[in-house]
Amino acid sequence: MMEPGLYHLLFISAALFFIGVYGFLTRRNLITMLMSIELILNSVNLNFIAFNKYLWPGKMDGLFFTLFIIAIAAAEAAVAIAIIINLYRSHQSIDVENAEELKY
């Protein structure tokens, strides 16, 4: 086992990101897709923090990016859930396969 460093964090971040992408692509339930998006956002946050810690410890840019992304993620989750619940009202389902009116 090695001393954990930047590469380990980047590995975790990338793995989490692609787990999120996999979930986004394979889930049919909109709420679980939203969860996958949260995972993706978190992987990005982790990335920012890791770079901030190991490459530019004298600055706080990555930290602030993470803060703002968390704020945006909160807003996004609220709006997304409002939309999902509205969709559930009109379709009686939140299966993404059933909500495909927006096409040709």
């Binding site: 992408v21 986004f24 692509l25 394979t26 897709m33 993404v96 396969e97 909500a99 495909e100 009116e101 927006l102 096409k103 040709y104």
Partner: protein, 644 residues
Amino acid sequence: MPNSTAIALIPLLPLAGFLLLGLAGRKYLKNSSGIIGTALLLASTVLALYTAYEYFFVYGRVNGVYQQFVPLEITWLEFSKGVSINISLIIDPISVMMLVVVTFVSLMVHVYSLGYMKGEERFPTYYSFLGLFTFSMLGLVLSGNIFQIYIFWELVGVSSFLLIGYYYDKPSAVAACKKAFIVTRFADLGFLIGILILSYSAGTLDFPTLIQRLTSPGSDEIKTAVTYSFLGISALSWGAMLVFIGGAGKSAMFPLHIWLPDAMEGPTPVSALIHAATMVVAGVYLVARLFPVFALTTPAVLEIIGWVGAVSAIIAAVIACTQTDIKRVLAYSTMSQIGYMMFALGVSSYGGGGESGYTASLFHLFTHAMFKALLFLGAGAVIHFVHSNEMKDMGGLRKYLPITHITFLIACLAIAGIPPFAGFFSKEAILLAAHENNKAIYWIALITSGLTAFYMFRLYFTIFWNKPHVIHGEKHGEGGWAMMLPLVLLAVGAAAAGFIPFGEFVSPDGKPIESKFHLGFSVAPVALGVGGIIAALWLYKKQSDKSTKLAASLGRLYKAAYHKFYIDEIYLFITRKVLFNLVGRPAAWFDRHVVDGLVNLAGNTTQAVSEGIKKVQSGKVQQYAIYFLAGVILLAVLVIYGWK
């Protein structure tokens, strides 16, 4: 000097009538529209007579020569400096004479229509159309340039179309107005091209300048124009010929005459005004207006005009002998008389003593307007009385229609050329001119004049003598004063117009020419005329089967004439069989298969492609995400490994 306001008002008053009655007539002026139209035209007529008096007797003649005046000239369309289309009025002997003829005949018809058209549903519309026609015709005769004459020429065609189709619920009237419009349009196409050639060659549209430039042998315009030629004929000759084709279409010259008999579907006063006295002589007027060009620059075309006129005259006269619809007889008679005017122009020449034909032609135009309008109005009275156009429904009407009878007889004598009625003098002058210049045409004209007397008196005897008339239903009179007054006035004109010394006033170059008159020369035509009358008397005075026997003995010839020499059928054959099959069908096939095919190909290709690619827009979010991810990875690979 000419009073330009008065002259401009002559055409503008009928235009005002047209606008007023056309816009407000049917709603507000239901009963007074006839009076309004007539009153406006009366004012116009008075102004025309005043202008004529002033021109001929006060200021027109300078040093014994009638001058040409342009009292009004407005730049209408200025394309650039020096290139513009003007609106101008021209005053010279023929336009002044035409003003008098048009306003007088039109006034008579307006008055007559007060009685004849009474009770019509669209009475105000009728009067507004009459106003439009009178305006257009007056504009045409006053036009100072060749483009303006074309505008009014087409306006005349439109108003003729409207009036022929006045009874638009009658299918035959609708067909007739379409036919008249299409045939004259066809001729007008030639006219337009002719105008373009002539005005291009001359570099101007104005008549005085155009004539001056195209007739002086040494001018630059002539020198350039003769260098162009097409099919071995010079451009100028083509231009003159095409202009004449326009005139021939309007004047119902053979072979473009087929619309005129059908045009009789219109109300009878309209036939009297448009298809006898005024519009149909527009072609003669046009040739007379451009006469110096025809005579000096393109004498060959003038000769063609002469022959076309002569052929039209005799063919129409032969056909007129066989028709049974009285208005059609009069229509063919009109065509025959216009043929006279045309060949009189054709045999004439400019200067050098040969200009008597020109004067004779316009003299005949003048007298013909009188007696032919009278004949039509008389025929209108007869039709009004018996409610039919067919000869077989008539006979013995002289007791019931005494005034119509007398005036109709005067008109028949006039057209037959019996002295001392008007037709005698003008026809004599024409025959004399033909005799001097072209013997062949002279003989044709002589035969035609005999035929004219025969068919006119055939008409006269069948209507007023022959079998006794059986009154169906209620008996009514001849119609009120409104219908009788024009008949009497025109009868006076038909009887007395011949004594006007016409050569004094109208000649190609404005100089008065001496009216030649030989008593000895008149013997042959008068004798032929009397012979025609006697033949008609013998055949038609009493009801008998002599005429049918004669027709049977003539066999083929009679049948051919009865069917108008199958000219309509030839046209139908050419258009239906030849043009439709050889041009129309291939063009339609090409359009349907090639042009439409290309359009459809473009449309179908687009549709097929979009059918294929629209599947991408599936509405499935995850598919979009997959495309997006695949695209990002692909781009990343490309940028990282391909960007060296």
